[in-house]
Symmetry: C2
Subunit: 195 residues, 2 copies
């Protein structure tokens, strides 16, 4: 499969069969890609940050780490990672968030709508979207306990590879929140590598 | 309303009207109480740790802090807190978790079942239970990024008070996971204070 492009502020979905690897690329550098995953054919089993925190014993994940479902099954293993800086704490940006934090009026492109629309044919409504694995998002906790969002550390061409441990329905969204993306919304690229 | 007791390893649900305050008490000290909340009459709006992290700019919450829904509405305000040490990162303990982490065979009392059963009449299935606000749970992130669970800091009679900002369906569970509860599962008490 050739490299596919997700335009800035847009989303898409893919089927990732067990053993296949999803490679997500930051074409220009400094861009976040939200990722959610569900068991193929059963959206009641979803990628869970909380289970992953518990079994991993940490908040931040990179190569060699396993991401778990709400039913405690391994869903994705990070098999390669050029950046080593991703977030699993922040919810997908939403229309309400853009109103509250950016003063947006009316609708605004956002990851929550992108992710749920990309998987609407699987029955994923917005309230069924869990906290995404926010690839390349640079969140850190300061020593005083405050959370801080900084620009991604990813440079042009940097990538992460995630191998499916079960058959998955995955949605990806090129994030629109300027604060998380170094001031500009940019595209994301991806490809599926065969087992 | 008198103080109600939740027996060790059990759960319950309450209706908390806007303006009412839920007071959760640790009768013996050292016991965690998982709390989840939904908008009354609409379980598609739920208490969201990720939105609360984002709007609060931090991972740990105490008196004066607001806990938000997935739709970015204030749900609960912490109006008093004797302990100041609670967790919002760990998923509810589950039968699968007890098998994986404690070697349990078959079923084991767990917060995920307690919370979902307590709200089953509202349509809450286990996969609709988000990460609870884990009252009195003592999780900390070390400087090397590892998460560590320590015994609760709560002493006998310590309490937290949460005021409802909208009408809520709330479930509470006295946690069974020995690691989080200083080695023994104990009861929890609560009362509802009128507006």
């Amino acid at each position: 499969m050739p490299l596919e492009i997700i335009p800035a502020r847009a989303g898409t979905s893919v089927r990732l069969a067990r053993g296949e690897t999803l490679r997500v690329v930051d074409p220009q550098g400094g861009q976040v890609c939200d990722l959610v995953a569900y068991a193929w054919g059963d959206v009641t089993e979803w990628l869970s940050n909380g289970r992953s925190f518990d079994y991993g014993g940490k908040l931040y994940f990179s190569a060699g780490d396993i991401l778990y479902s709400n039913r405690s099954r391994p869903m994705l293993t990070i098999v390669a990672d050029d950046v080593g800086c991703h977030d699993f704490l922040y919810t997908a940006c939403s229309a309400e968030m853009f109103r509250l934090q950016y003063g947006a009026t009316g609708d605004h492109p956002n990851c929550l709508d992108n992710l749920s629309r990309a998987l609407a044919h699987h029955g994923v409504a917005p309230h069924l979207v869990p906290t995404p694995f926010n690839i390349f998002m640079n969140s850190t906790m300061r020593s005083d306990g405050r959370l801080v969002i900084a620009p991604p550390r990813s440079r042009a061409g940097d990538a992460i590879q995630l191998r499916a441990e079960i058959d998955l329905a995955i949605a990806l969204s090129a994030c629109s929140a300027l604060l998380a993306n170094g001031g500009s919304a940019k595209p994301i690229a991806y490809e599926i590598l065969e087992a």
